[in-house]
Every structure is written in structure tokens, then in C-alpha cells.
Amino acid sequence: MSEKLYQIISNVMKIDISTITDELGPETIENWTSFYGYVLLNELQEGFNVKFTINEAMDVKNIADIKRHLRNKGIEIDG
């Protein structure tokens, strides 16, 4: 499932899949404005058929946070 996650991030944030690391977030990804942050969460919800609570949404500060919340919802993410 990591591949799908990376694909969505790459698509929304317009960055190359190979450059995505856990540490990346709004400070390091140029396109990650508050609006693109919503778009990303929205695409993830549709792509993985999950719903983020407002606390989870507020908590996302980097890619690692996204992975953690997806894992908590039973989605298998490697790495």
C-alpha cells in the first residue's frame, strides 16, 4: 500500500516519488500549503476509503504522521 500512498502524495504535492521521505512536511515541500494539505487528506480518504477525525487531520505535520494514522486505521504501510 506504500506505493499507492506515495503516488497520491506525489500527485498532489507535485514531487518525485523517489524524493519522498518520512520527514517531509509543509516546511520542506513547497506545494504543501494549508489548502494543498486539505487536498492531500481528501485524496487519501478517497484513495484508502478511510475518514480522518479532526484531531488526526490537525496532527499531521509530516509524511510519518500520515503513515501512522493510516496504520491505525488498519492500512498496511511498509517502511
Binding site: V12, K14, S34, F35, E43, I54, A57, M58
Partner: protein
């Protein structure tokens, strides 16, 4: 038609729009809440229709300032259409949650004050710009603190919003500049729980959720289509498995599915919607591979057939291929192929037509006939900002054209034929009654159009008021009746010796009757009366205006450089089969 794409599809694709597109539109976006993404949606949806879309997005909830300040960025941008999307929460403020903390008299006063604010803003806007303004109605939330008792309260929470919407519509009912977008119907169609997502609202102040922003953009595109006049005028239909279920050649008259029982009822409903569109001016035609006798028997005699022969302006029911038939239909109706919609259940036929005529809107019909009705309801390409009398009668007009064509075929030469028609041209100065139709002709006419200058109503009004312009239209009648306003010309008085033809156009349905000669004779004689010595004109060729390319030399204009000149000598005589009257 197809399911809407996701927001990121539009965001990604908006960056790759070609800059060379047929038409242009400038849109102003004002809102009382975050509508991030709507800009990209409108850009991509416009590009899909070959329109280059420039958008000014005001900072959110700054709409009053943008409208009231004469020097605002909105006005500097010179929008042609401006959308003002407002939401109930913002307009009602504290009264959104606590409407019953004040008396019913105070609720009425509050709504009166709010509606006056919006009307005042709209009036100011109209004064300061030529842009059309589209204001959204307020959505009525399902919830009320009173629950089911809500409808027992005089001027309650829901009534406040209904009253606001009602007053908004009533105030601008006859306005040519302000339109009301029915956001309430948008929410009704898509569902409040879908369109409004509390999670997105709390997290990002989104009052229309991201998933439904593309559908909102689709709705707003209707105004762009109507404004640019790129409306579809004619639906070309297949028969078997499109207007009825089954194949008449195999299943027979009694075997096809058409009637009150399912699935016959799906086809009846589909036909009813087509008829309702026909009644407001959409032309219908048939393009079907069938035995003519089998098919026409169903059309004429089947008890559950809603559409009858009289509703079809052109019928091609034979064994020729769909593209050849399409070419004949286009020729017979004398219509631009870009005004057509093609509906056929067979994907192979659809692909074939699409490959030869990419400009035709080919509808992707699903193989479930219960979806036909909604498919056609969701086509936005019939949108017009105004429905004129000519629109309503269009079907009949084209039908009449068919009779005329038959008369022409049975008459030995053109002059004899024309003299039998009793043609009369009535020239009128454009006024408030003819303006909507004139504007429509200026925006839509492609073929018999000398300069293809696209003026909006406001531009035409300015020219009417300017003594240096003559803005006239021509109404044409013949022995079969009135064709309505079908010609327009605009003359610019360059100086006391020279006139310039700025615009000369005629609807294609009156082409081939020398009407243009009649109008030109009128212009020349009028110029002579005014002691004008030369008339100048330009022919600006486009991909579509070939029919008018010989118009200037045919009327004895001579080419000088890029422009054409007519030197006025004596008065000229009208062909004897035409009469011209001035009103």
C-alpha cells in the same frame, strides 16, 4: 454525463492548459468563504470547451470591499462574468444559530436589512462595470432548533432564508446584468450531508466540500456557455435502443419496448424530456440505420411514441453510415456542426461520428436506459442567458424551411422561386425589444458573418447611443410567415463622406434568398441620401464564414489593400422579388 473528476485532477490539469484556444472569458470570483480550487476547475472545464479562461479570485469574504471600491483589483481585472457565492452562515451571522433569540418582527427587519445590503452591492456593481453578476441564493439547512415544529412558526428560521431568496429573485427578475444562481437546487441535487462536511468546515472553513466543488464548477459553466453563446441547438438521435427499446426491424412494431411498463417507461420519459427541450427551441433530428417504413410506422402510429414526425426537422432513416447521414442533416438544417449533440446507444457509431466531427458533443449513453433521462438532464450545453421568441419558434421555422426547400427543388430557376416567396425585409433600428435577439445573433452567427465581431449587449447599447453608429436589424417575412429578426448590420460613420461596415451578418436559415442583397441595397441608398461617397468594409475570414466570402465583390465592392470599397454613384434598384420597408 461522466462522473465528475476529483479536485486534484483539475488542480493538476490547470497547469497544462494550451494558450491557443478559440474563445476567451474573464471571470471574477467573489465569495463569503473559501472556494480554493474553483478557479482551477473553471479553467480546466473552460479549456475542455476550447475557451481560455482568465480568473480573478478576490480574497475571501472581501466581496463588499471589492464591489464598493471603484479602484479595486476586481474592476481593474475587467471581468465579463462575476460570481458572488455567499453562504447562509455568513449572511445570518448570530441569527444562523439563534434565530429565536429575537422576535419575529426583528427577524423580518433583519432579513430586510440583509437583502438591501446585497441589492445595494449588486446595484453598485452594475453601475461600475459591464460584467454580468451572478449571485448565489442562500442554502436552507435542514436543521432547525425547532425540529418538526419549525413549519408552525410565523417567519421562522427557514422562512427567513426563503424570504431572502425570494426577494433576491424578485428584485432582479427583469435585470439583464444580474442573474441568480440556485445554490439551493445544487445542494438539493447533491445532498446537504455531502456538500457540507463539518470536518472540512472546521478544519479549513470549507463550506462546500472538496468532493463537490467540481460539480459546482460544472453548474457555473452554464453561465460561461450562455454568455459566450456557444449553446448547442440541435440533438441528433438514433432510434433503436435510444428512442425505444429493442430493434424494430427484428422485434417488430409490437415487440419494441415503449410504454408505461418498465423498461418501456424509461424511453417514454427520455422522449418527454426531449420534447420539453424542443418546446423551448432545441431542434431534433434522426440519424438511424433502419428500414424507413418500419421506423416511420412507429413514429407515426405507435400509441406511446411521445415524439412525432412533426418534431423532427430532419430525418435520415436508411442504411447509409452515420457520418454520411450526419453530413446530410447538417446541410439540410443548415446548421454549424459545432451546434450539434449526438445521442446513440452504439459506442461504435459514437466513436465514428466523434472521429470525423470532433466538434459535435457525442453523449456517452450507458447501456441502462433508466439513466437516459438523467444523462440528458445533466447536459449543460443548452444554457442560454435569455430565451427569445425566435428560440421558441425555432423548430417550426426549420420545419418551414423544409417546405421551402421542396418548393425550390420543384421550381425551374432561382428567380422564379424567389418571386414566389413574397419576400419582405423590414429594417429596424435596434431597440430594447430587439436587443436580446440582436445580441444573440452577434454572439452566435458563424457562417454568414463578415467580421465575426462578438459584442455583448452592453457594447451594443453603447453603439446605439453613439450618433456615429447605425445599429440596425432586419426582420424577414415570406409567404409562409415571419422568420423574426435574422439579420444585423452596424455602420460606423467615419466622416461626412465615408461609412464603414463594422458588422454584417445573417442567420443561416435565411441564406440563399438574396436577402443580403436587399439589405446592402438599403445601406447603399441610405448612404447616398446622406451624401456619403464611399462605403468601406472588411472581410475577416474565419474557419466558418466561407459562405460570405464573395458577398463584397458580388455587391460591386472593389479590393484596395486589405479592405473593400464601394464608390457610390447613383441609387441602385432592388431585385424585383424583394421589398424593403423601414420601421
Amino acid at each position: 454525463m461522466s462522473k465528475e473528476n476529483s479536485l486534484s485532477y483539475y488542480i493538476n490539469n490547470s497547469k497544462e492548459i494550451s494558450e491557443v484556444l478559440d474563445r476567451k472569458i474573464r471571470i471574477g470570483l467573489l465569495s463569503s468563504f473559501t472556494i480554493n480550487g474553483l478557479k482551477e476547475i473553471l479553467e480546466v472545464k473552460s479549456a475542455e470547451r476550447n475557451i481560455s479562461c482568465m480568473i480573478y479570485e478576490a480574497p475571501y469574504n472581501q466581496y463588499s470591499q471589492e464591489i464598493l471600491n471603484q479602484n479595486s483589483n476586481l474592476y481593474k481585472f475587467l471581468p465579463e462574468i462575476t460570481f458572488l457565492i455567499i453562504d447562509t452562515r455568513t449572511i445570518l451571522g448570530n441569527n444562523f444559530r439563534f434565530p429565536y433569540s429575537i422576535s419575529n418582527t426583528d427577524r423580518k427587519k433583519f432579513v430586510a436589512k440583509k437583502i438591501n445590503e446585497i441589492i445595494n452591492l449588486a446595484d453598485q456593481f452594475v453601475e461600475k462595470t459591464n460584467s454580468k453578476l451572478v449571485i448565489s441564493k442562500l442554502n436552507i439547512p435542514a436543521f432547525s432548533p425547532n425540529g418538526i415544529f419549525e413549519s408552525k412558526i410565523e417567519y421562522g428560521f427557514h422562512s427567513m432564508i426563503e424570504d431572502f431568496n425570494h426577494k433576491l429573485i424578485k428584485n432582479f427578475l427583469n435585470s439583464e446584468n444580474v442573474y441568480i444562481y440556485d445554490l439551493e437546487k445544487f445542494v438539493a441535487k447533491n445532498g446537504e450531508d455531502n456538500v457540507f462536511d463539518y470536518n472540512q468546515f472546521f478544519f479549513g472553513d470549507l463550506k462546500i466540500s472538496m468532493e463537490f466543488l467540481p460539480a459546482l464548477g460544472q453548474d457555473l459553466m452554464k453561465y460561461v456557455i450562455g454568455f459566450l453563446g456557444i449553446t448547442k441547438k440541435c440533438i441528433v438521435l438514433d432510434l433503436d435502443n435510444t428512442l425505444w427499446g429493442g430493434i424494430v426491424g427484428e422485434d417488430g412494431f409490437n415487440g419494441i419496448k415503449l410504454g408505461p411498463e418498465p423498461p418501456g417507461n424509461t424511453f417514454m420519459e427520455f422522449q418527454r424530456i426531449l420534447l420539453s427541450l424542443h418546446q423551448r427551441g432545441i431542434i431534433l433530428a434522426i440519424n438511424s440505420k433502419n428500414n424507413f417504413e418500419d421506423a416511420i410506422k412507429v413514429i407515426e402510429d405507435h400509441p406511446y411514441m411521445i415524439l412525432k414526425e412533426e418534431h423532427f426537422t430532419s430525418m435520415r432513416i436508411n442504411w447509409k453510415d452515420k457520418v454520411s447521414n450526419m453530413k446530410e442533416i447538417i446541410q439540410e438544417i443548415n446548421i454549424g456542426s459545432d451546434s450539434l449533440i449526438f445521442i446513440d446507444d452504439d459506442p461504435v457509431n459514437r466513436e465514428f461520428v466523434k472521429s470525423i466531427f470532433p466538434e459535435i458533443l457525442v453523449v456517452d449513453l450507458s447501456n441502462d436506459s433508466s439513466t437516459y433521462a438523467s444523462t440528458i438532464e445533466n447536459i449543460i450545453d443548452f444554457s442560454v442567458l435569455k430565451i427569445t421568441e425566435e428560440d421558441k419558434n425555432r423548430g417550426k421555422m426549420y420545419k418551414k424551411q423544409k417546405v421551402i426547400n421542396e418548393l425550390q427543388e420543384s421550381t425551374p430557376d432561382l428567380q422564379t422561386f424567389l418571386s414566389q416567396l413574397d419576400l419582405k425585409i423590414i429594417i429596424k433600428e435596434v431597440d430594447e425589444f430587439t436587443l436580446p435577439r440582436v445580441s444573440q445573433l452577434i454572439l452566435k452567427t458563424n457562417q454568414f458573418n463578415l467580421t465575426t465581431k462578438r459584442y455583448q449587449e452592453s457594447d451594443i447599447k453603447t453603439m446605439i447611443k453613439d450618433p456615429n453608429f447605425i445599429v440596425c436589424c432586419a426582420q424577414v417575412t415570406d409567404k409562409f410567415g415571419d422568420n423574426g429578426v435574422t439579420g444585423v448590420f452596424i455602420i460606423k460613420k467615419e466622416n461626412h463622406k465615408e461609412w464603414q461596415i463594422d458588422t454584417f451578418l445573417m442567420s443561416c436559415r435565411i441564406m440563399g434568398k438574396d436577402i443580403e442583397k436587399g439589405i446592402m441595397t438599403f445601406i447603399i441608398n441610405k448612404a447616398k441620401e446622406n451624401n456619403i461617397e464611399t462605403i468601406k468594409a472588411d472581410f475577416l475570414p474565419t474557419q466558418k464564414n466561407k459562405p460570405i466570402e464573395n458577398f463584397l465583390p458580388d455587391n460591386e465592392f472593389t479590393k484596395e489593400g486589405k479592405s473593400w470599397t464601394y464608390v457610390i454613384k447613383s441609387e441602385i434598384k432592388l431585385p424585383n422579388y424583394l421589398s424593403v420597408k423601414v420601421e
